[in-house]
């Protein structure tokens, strides 16, 4: 018999409204909740227009969970147990080598079928030189970094730089940035003049230091806007827009069905952007900036000098 399953993901128990109401009830049970507190919880947990619907429904008896005097018939702070699909998802994480980076155990998941296994999916275009998640030293350094971020501690890092030299420096860890394509973590730092980012794979030692380091403002990336002309042929608009989907962008359709797309990219990533644009061949042309266009032209000139075409 065909099995029409209850919608396990799109379900009201996961809704932002349920989540906000749960937090409102908890706040009321703590005592002394004001309407302002409730409004703040809605703003933090629900959507832009929720304030005008959720609070009146809750406090005027439409949903019988909060009295107009902001008391509640609920006796305990709401606690939603894990659903089966959530347990299955968590169980699946234990088949991923990256789970060892975290100090978690599958306690309570005995007998739960994982939602997916490595046989069920494959990332086919990930780079082959990702970080070594099975390496005990790597795991220890990763955990030290994570703990320093949590505690607000500084770090003393020893690493091999690009030229193969061992360098040692102190910094404040800001965040760990993971690239799905590279399968690598890098640490974004503050307080170090020369090392703003550190590949975790290059670290050889890492320990927390108590001495406070200057917490200067993070230097924001410098962005530029790249303007591309995308031809209508070979399904390029669809392929290209999906390819650049993770950038801030704006597209305009031209009379002939082609597109002009403006996308914002980090200047530090320019060499990568050049090869990403090149991968579309003649179907995507750089219109601006001119110096980016020149970078493509330079590569083509060099190619022509190879004498092949």
């Amino acid at each position: 018999m065909p099995e029409r399953r209850q919608n396990v993901i799109f379900n009201e128990i996961h809704s932002a409204y349920y989540s906000a109401v749960s937090k409102i009830i908890s706040r009321i049970l703590e005592g002394g909740a004001s309407e302002e507190d409730l409004r703040r919880i809605v703003a933090e947990n629900a959507f832009g227009e929720s304030g005008s619907t959720l609070l009146p429904a809750l406090t005027r008896g439409k949903w019988q969970l909060v009295h107009p005097d902001l008391s509640t018939p609920v006796k305990n702070p709401p606690q939603l147990p894990l659903t089966l699909i959530e347990k299955q998802w968590l169980k699946a994480l234990f088949l991923d080598p990256r789970i060892r980076l975290f100090s978690v155990e599958p306690t309570g998941l005995e007998g739960v079928e994982p939602l997916f296994t490595p046989e069920d999916y494959l990332i086919y275009d990930r780079y082959g030189d990702g970080d070594r998640y099975e390496d005990e030293g790597y795991i220890a350094r990763f955990r030290t970094v994570l703990s320093a971020m949590e505690q607000g501690d500084g770090l003393q890092i020893e690493m091999i730089d690009r030229r193969g030299r061992t360098v040692c420096f102190c910094c404040m860890p800001k965040r760990l940035e993971y690239s799905e394509r590279d399968d690598k973590f890098r640490l974004i730092t503050q307080g170090s003049r020369f090392y703003k980012t550190v590949n975790l794979g290059r670290m050889v030692n890492c320990r927390t230091v108590e001495r406070a380091l200057p917490q200067e403002q993070e230097t924001p990336p410098v962005y530029r806007t790249l303007t591309l002309h995308i031809l209508k042929e070979r399904n390029t608009p669809e392929r290209c827009l999906l390819h650049f989907a993770h950038f801030e962008k704006r597209a305009e359709r031209q009379e002939d069905g082609s597109l002009v797309v403006h996308l914002r990219y980090d200047v530090d990533e320019e060499p990568e952007m050049v090869i990403r644009v090149l991968s579309f061949g003649p179907l995507v042309e750089v219109l601006a900036p001119q110096d980016f266009r020149n970078l493509i032209a330079e590569r083509l000139k060099k190619q022509k000098s190879c004498g092949l075409f």
Binding site: N7, N11, D129, A297
Partner: protein
């Protein structure tokens, strides 16, 4: 009076609008027919309510086009997950949910009658209390049993209900759940877990991060459940011009982290072949009977892997030898060792050999060399030779490069004119 609500009953419609606004951001209100113009207004307003600052619009000759623009590198949590938290419910649903969960909080088994009494007692404090009949409460408990929130046991002829144990230490799990909610399949489930906790700053950011697949989470979860049970599925497939219903045996999901696409590789019963389907084009997944030869089909698919650059497979599943050969020779100058590293880490099923001090050969035998072309083009400026066993592909590759020369004025009339101008100066 408008019947607009931030919440929705059916995800499918908003899924297509989100794709339209996020990936393309081109279609104007005027391009929707009159009937769907109202729907367009509602969906746009909802998305604005969910995604706030990420929404923008541009006015063109065709009208105003709405787009969603997100730099996923600076968004530490996938904003598109919000759509999955917009399911509508009735006044009774939400009231009963919190009262029932409260009554079951003690972890003890309760009879239906006890729970009914408890619900009435809690609601009696209201001026005009809601009344829930036995069948409504039983139905809600049954629903919660299926979701795993409540366990049901029998005591003689009567059912006893108990809340399942709450389990997860927030302190130890917070980072793991956040990280995997962004990088693991069906990551929105991790985001549901995070919603139980007080919101805190994130320790992780993400680069090269495609967030579009969030919209396909439900379809993906059902496909995984089908694979777990070795089931066939019936699924609706939308292509650019056609909507069909297919019976498939889902075998594996192939995820591209360089193009943001997810494909289902399945056995297509009707044509006795393996096919790849874009998951964002699939909907209405219904699990069917188990397939006894599931493992056999999966092993057959695994045997094709060495010839797959991306998702293309042989047209005839019995003809595994029909591969195409690609051979490329690259020039690598001194100080360009990073090119060799690139080749090594990006070669997938290919082979890299050093020919002499400055030349490297890349070779691959794949079912569809056309899939490799975008990657091969990234080496433009150092390709000394390239050969494809498929002459059509070779002609296309070379023709494309010639067209690029023309586009950028390399070696043609434009460049001659430029050189002439430079000489005059």
């Amino acid at each position: 009076m408008s019947s607009y609500s931030e919440l929705i009953k059916n995800f499918e419609r908003v899924r297509s609008y989100m794709r339209e606004f996020y990936v393309y951001g081109l279609k104007s209100r005027e391009e929707y027919d009159k009937k769907s113009a109202r729907s367009y207004d509602d969906e746009r307003r909802r998305l604005e309510s969910w995604l706030g600052d990420h929404m923008g619009f541009v006015r063109t000759a065709e009208g105003k086009s709405v787009f969603i623009s997100i730099d996923s590198r600076s968004s530490f949590r996938n904003p598109l997950y919000k759509a999955w938290k917009s399911k509508s419910f009735t006044d009774g649903d939400i009231t009963l949910h919190f009262i029932l969960m409260d009554l079951l909080q003690d972890g003890q088994p309760h009879l239906l009658a006890q729970l009914m009494e408890g619900v009435d007692a809690r609601l009696a404090e209201f001026e005009d209390p809601m009344v829930f009949d036995e069948s409504t409460v039983r139905k809600k408990l049954k629903e919660y049993c299926a979701l795993g929130l409540v366990e049901s046991t029998r005591s003689g002829k009567r059912s006893l209900y108990r809340k399942t144990e709450l389990w997860l230490e927030e302190e130890s799990w917070r980072d793991a759940v956040h990280f995997f909610s962004e990088v693991a399949p069906c990551g929105v489930i991790g985001s549901f877990i995070e919603d139980r906790w007080v919101k805190k700053g994130a320790h992780f950011g993400f680069k090269h991060h495609y967030i579009t697949s969030a919209m396909d989470s439900d379809v993906l979860a059902l496909l995984f459940l089908a694979m777990q049970k070795h089931c066939a599925v019936t699924v609706t497939c939308d292509s650019r011009h056609l909507r069909t219903q297919e019976r498939l045996v889902p075998l594996r999901v192939l995820i591209g982290v360089q193009n943001g696409r997810q494909h289902l590789v399945a056995y297509h019963t009707k044509t006795d072949s393996f096919r790849a389907y874009r998951i964002d084009y699939l909907s209405e997944v219904v699990l069917e009977q188990t397939v006894p030869r599931f493992e056999e089909l999966r092993a057959e698919l695994a045997a094709l892997r060495p010839g797959m650059w991306g998702v293309s497979m042989p047209k005839d599943r019995y003809d595994r030898q029909s591969t195409e050969r690609v051979e490329m020779i690259l020039r690598v100058e001194q100080g360009e060792e990073h090119i060799v590293s690139r080749l090594e880490r990006e070669k997938r099923v290919g082979l890299v050999e050093r020919l002499d001090q400055h030349r490297y050969r890349f070779t691959a035998e794949v079912y569809d060399a056309g899939e490799m072309i975008p990657w091969l083009r990234t080496f433009i400026c150092r390709i000394e030779d390239i050969r494809f066993s498929n002459s059509l592909t070779e002609r296309r590759f070379k023709k494309d490069i010639e067209q690029m020369y023309r586009l950028y004025g390399i070696g043609g009339e434009q460049e001659d004119a430029r050189k002439e101008a430079e000489r005059d100066i």
